[in-house]
């Protein structure tokens, strides 16, 4: 079962937002996220909202899916207009999943075209899709490039077969360099996703994954500690003692190794779990999340945010398709953030970034906490004197604790 949606207020059928959402919108970037809820197989660690073809049918099938997304984009444009939110060109578009490349490249292209028709694309817009190394071909990558995609993010996860096996990843490691090369030839920027701390993975295994990934010359690498989510197959295997549990100290060692090797390999951290070759190679779409920009999230279970209102769609593809077929918003719930909530989120998200958090946005108690954080070696002193809270290496590993100390009790 994919993870549960939050509890919130009911969302109206027409998707219209409260007046507060429109305030200051013209100063904020606007982005689009498109969720593709399909996978060839379900991985044992994954709690994302995704389904295999055999789990779905009827109006929720892969074939009809693009049509539902097009309907949501049309509804979204209408709802924003009705809410008084000015139309802005899209700064970024991101297709995530699931495995977006399980859809024909033509479907992804059609969705991007529809988005462009509704809002237009900013001249330097970043358009990314996630992909499984197995599900791309030179032809499909060219179709994407021609449609306006600029970037592809491959779920490499590991270069070590026994680690991939625990994760239930089906691709063979040899496919990755080939997929990377095809993407380069098609003119796309390349990012690789890695996972560390999988049960049974040694520090040497992880070193192998990192050096292998670097040897492919990507523009960007995301390295995530494996999170054991409730309800996943991996969680129950750990509970039954079939695989060893997660060890935070092991995670810390592997994070240190990642930061060391990636930095040596010419990439620089710009967020706790993300490294890029140049600032321009940082994922602009994800930066938009951390900087509190506006975005529309299309697709089942997708979350959206516009000016302090967050909402999320129904999770399952079938009621999602049904709502749109009936001309209704697929939103399942929403929350309108209080000033305090917005402050909490701002601290919680921006502190993860290398650009940090401006000290003058902190409350008095937050500013007072900074000295203690410097003393404990969690915050860079020089940056703090220059007016920004930037995490040290140790601070990155304890970022949540830093957030708790910056926020009022």
């Amino acid at each position: 079962m994919p993870s549960a949606l939050p509890l919130g207020l009911p969302a109206p059928e027409d998707g219209v937002l409260p007046p507060s959402a429109a305030e200051g919108a013209s100063d904020r970037a606007f982005c689009l996220y498109v969720h593709i809820p399909f996978c060839a197989v379900r991985c044992g660690y994954c709690d994302f909202n995704t389904y295999t073809a055999t789990e779905l049918g009827g109006g929720a099938s892969q074939d009809a899916y693009a049509g539902s997304v097009l309907a949501e984009l049309a509804l979204g444009a209408q709802a924003l207009e009705a809410s008084g939110v000015p139309s802005r060109p899209l700064s970024t578009v991101f297709f995530g999943g699931g495995t977006p490349t399980l859809l024909p490249a033509e479907d992804l292209a059609a969705i991007l075209r529809a988005a462009r028709d509704q809002w237009s694309l900013a001249p330097d817009a970043e358009v990314t899709t996630e992909a499984n190394p197995d599900s791309v071909t030179p032809e499909s990558l060219r179709v994407l490039r021609d449609a306006g995609f600029t970037r592809i993010s491959f779920g490499m996860q590991s270069a070590v077969p026994h680690v991939l096996a625990v994760l239930d990843r089906t691709h063979s490691p040899e496919r990755v360099p080939q997929a990377v090369q095809w993407a380069r030839e098609a003119g796309l920027k390349v990012s690789l996703d890695l996972i560390y701390g999988t049960p049974g993975e040694s520090l040497e295994d992880w070193r192998t994954s990192l050096t292998t990934a670097l040897s492919y010359g990507p523009d960007h690498i995301s390295a995530y500690a494996l999170i054991i989510e409730d309800g996943t197959k991996l969680a129950s295997r750990i509970r039954r003692g079939q695989v060893p549990p997660i060890d935070d100290d092991d995670h810390a060692d592997k994070y240190a190794l990642a930061d060391e090797l990636l930095t040596a390999g010419g990439l620089q951290w710009y967020e706790v779990s993300n490294w890029a070759r140049t600032p321009a190679d940082a994922c602009q779409h994800n930066l938009a999340y951390w900087r509190g920009s506006d975005w529309w999230g299309a697709g089942p279970g997708a979350h959206s945010h516009v000016g302090g209102t967050r909402w999320w769609n129904v999770k399952h593809p079938r009621p999602y398709a049904d709502a749109l077929a009936a001309g209704r918003s697929p939103a399942a719930g929403r929350e309108v953030l209080s000033d305090e909530d917005r402050y909490v989120e701002d601290v919680m998200l921006r502190v993860r970034l290398r650009e940090g958090l401006a000290t003058d946005t902190l409350t008095t108690s937050g500013r007072r906490a900074v000295a203690g954080l410097i003393a404990d070696g969690l915050v860079e002193p020089a940056a703090a004197f220059a007016g920004r809270v930037v995490l040290t290496f140790r601070g990155r590993l304890l970022a949540d604790a830093v957030v708790r100390r910056l926020l009022p009790d």
Binding site: S3, P6, G8, Y33, Y224, A225, L226, I227, D248, D249, H251, A252, Y255, V272, S273, N286, Y289, W290, W295, G297, G301, A302, H303, S304, H305, R310, W312, E335, D341, V344, E345, M348, L349, R352, D376, L378, R396, L397, L398, A399, D400, A401, V403, R404, L407, D409
Partner: protein, 617 residues
């Protein structure tokens, strides 16, 4: 012969010759309350439709735990050979902590029913109370209860009882409180075998208080046994220990609901209401006389209740402190043995140091405070009262390790108890080992029967207040039973062990122990805390120290990772809510220096391993 008396004798005008005063000596679980229920029904004292199980146990906690905390007296009519008698059954508390109350109940009677479970045999506390009754020259009626149980061994235990009190096994009555078998015969035997009370009706009034209970509506209800003279309504009475006088607003008998009477005469048992609001003004063991014609000599045997075990009680939520304060004030209205004073702990905040008669008294009081006032409490490890003499001859009483003086100590005395343990003989080795570990000195050993022994030890009270009883139970597979009474004090080589977290002393974990055990305590407590305290952003050394000398050391490694790997669009709401939850959790932390210690760690560290296991089940 009709079991139910046709005309019950009238209170205040009852000839002592037709009065029988008795109590029931029994162990917890041996069926005293159930037998009392049958007597109430059989004599018609309680109508069938009003009957409920354990009628005389008024508090929920008494019914749940199957123990009687406060005793009560009931007047039961019973007819034998055409004569109507008045039987006064004085219910007695069934636990070692309340020995003094038991002794006063016994002093109010001429006879006692020795009630023993036919499947378990006599237990240590019952034996102790039996000896007490025999010292008071009470006539004993031995009774085996629960003879309907398949596991009952009436012959075996009848022989045991007979050998204890003298007489033949055939003299032991067989009853079942559950089915009622043998209860009528028991009532008849009470009338025939127990002596009638004697006293001088013309002498100045003397009545002994054997219980006193606070009632929200009526104030203090005092239960008395009249020895000499007569008490009448509206009279002014006097408490002989304090010389305080009160007007007798109401006097009567319980049958078992209160029934006002024209007074109480020689040998009668009943209640008095004077309008006082605090049981301390109507003390168990005191003698009541009249102001108009006061007696010159009290009945004797009065003692002030002496708290033996002390523990700090702290509300988990500091804002509950006033609730706890008011609750304790209310409790003392009905519990003359409970003493308390405010106390501050650096680790636990504001609370009270409370003195109890024993561990059960502590447990029951704490449980009632939590239940009746909706409080969550931390109780610190129980302590006894030490007498510390400094080199300058100054003497201190110490009930809290944090008050233990630093510096020149000439001598420390600790309270001692004489303990009696009854158990099947196969466990003698295990029991002796346990008592030796607890610095006990063997006093003697006797066989009660072929396979049951009575072992007597002199032990420091401090060694039995924490987990001794639990260990005794587990080492004897539940068969061992314990009784103890105070037995002076002795000089001991005691030290205070402090526990330091990151160099800061945590007063709640300090303990006074024998020097030989200080190391073991230090290792145990530092090890426990290492498990219980979550990792912090920095390494936390945990040390045990005697003064400046470190005797044990552990350390909690610094947490190295506390960050969520992914925080994208769909994670933000979830993450913010998690953060709010973590902040709530932080409120349940106590700060010791810079170390966050969860409340649960205090509770777990201060409870014995045994009770932790129980909590897990």
């Amino acid at each position: 012969m009709s079991p139910m008396a046709r005309t019950a004798p009238v209170p205040a005008a009852t000839d002592p010759a037709i009065i029988r005063n008795f109590c029931i000596i029994a162990h917890i679980d041996h069926g005293k309350s159930t037998l009392a229920d049958r007597m109430l029904q059989l004599t018609g004292a309680v109508e069938q439709r009003d009957m409920k199980a354990q009628y005389l146990d008024r508090m929920d906690i008494e019914r749940e735990r199957g123990i009687t905390i406060k005793s009560q007296a009931v007047r039961l009519p019973w007819e034998v050979d055409g004569t109507a008698y008045a039987l006064n059954m004085i219910d007695t508390p069934g636990h070692v902590d309340f020995t003094y109350e038991v002794s006063r109940s016994l002093a109010a009677c001429e006879g006692a029913i020795l009630l023993v479970d036919a499947a378990q045999g006599i237990e240590a506390q019952t034996l102790a109370n039996l000896y007490l009754a025999m010292e008071n020259n009470l006539t004993i009626i031995p009774v085996l209860n629960k003879i309907d149980l398949p596991a009952a061994q009436p012959e075996k235990y009848a022989a045991e009882l007979a050998s204890l009190i003298g007489g033949e096994p055939e003299d032991v009555l067989m009853v079942s409180g559950k089915t009622g078998v043998g209860v009528e015969a028991l009532m008849d035997k009470i009338v025939r075998d127990l002596p009638a009370p004697t006293g001088d009706p013309n002498a100045p009034a003397r009545a002994m208080i054997f219980d006193s209970v606070y009632d929200t509506y009526r104030g203090v209800v005092t239960y008395v046994r009249v020895v000499d003279g007569h008490l009448s309504p509206r009279e002014r009475i006097q408490m002989m220990s304090t010389r305080a006088t009160h007007e007798l607003l109401e006097i009567g008998v319980s049958s078992p609901e209160p029934k006002p009477s024209k007074g109480l005469g020689v040998g009668e048992v009943g209640y008095l209401i004077t309008g006082v609001k605090d049981v301390r003004q109507s003390k168990v063991g005191d003698t009541v006389t009249t102001l108009a014609k006061p007696a010159t000599e009290s009945l004797g045997g009065y003692q002030d209740p002496k708290p033996m075990v002390f523990s700090g009680l702290y509300p988990l939520d500091g804002t509950d402190y006033p609730v706890l304060r008011d609750a304790l004030a209310k409790f003392t209205l009905n519990d003359a043995a409970l003493v308390y004073e405010p106390e501050t702990s650096a680790a636990l905040g504001f609370g009270f140091r409370v003195g109890f008669l024993g561990l059960l008294h502590l447990e029951i009081t704490r449980e009632r405070l939590e239940r009746e006032y909706n409080l969550d409490l931390i109780s610190t490890a129980p302590n006894v009262e030490y007498e510390v003499t400094l080199e300058d001859k100054h003497v201190l009483k110490v009930t809290n390790p944090s008050e233990y003086p630093v510096g020149k100590i000439a001598e420390v005395r600790e309270p001692m108890v004489s303990a009696t343990i009854l158990a099947p003989s196969e466990f003698v080795g295990a029991i002796m080992e346990l008592c030796q570990q607890r610095r006990g000195v063997l006093g003697g050993m006797d066989y009660l029967s072929e396979d049951r022994v009575e072992i007597r030890y002199r032990l420091p009270l401090a060694e039995i207040v924490f987990d001794f009883f639990d260990l005794l139970k587990s080492k004897t597979r539940g068969y061992g039973s314990l009784d103890w009474k105070a037995d002076g004090d002795q000089v001991s080589d005691l030290v205070k062990v402090d526990i330091l977290l990151q160099g800061d002393q945590v007063d709640a974990f300090s303990a006074i122990t024998h020097r030989d055990k200080a190391y073991a305590y230090g290792v145990m407590m530092t090890g426990k805390l290492r498990e219980l305290i979550p990792r912090q952003q920095f390494e936390v050394p945990i040390q045990a120290a005697i003064g400046a000398r470190i005797i044990a050391r552990e350390s909690i490694r610094a947490i190295r990772k506390d960050v969520l790997a992914k925080c994208y669009g769909g994670d933000i709401t979830r993450k913010r809510k998690l953060l709010e939850k973590q902040k709530e959790g932080k409120k349940r932390m106590k700060m010791v220096g810079r170390v966050e210690v969860p409340q649960e760690a205090f509770i777990a560290a201060l409870s014995s391993d045994e009770s932790k296991d129980k909590a897990k089940k």
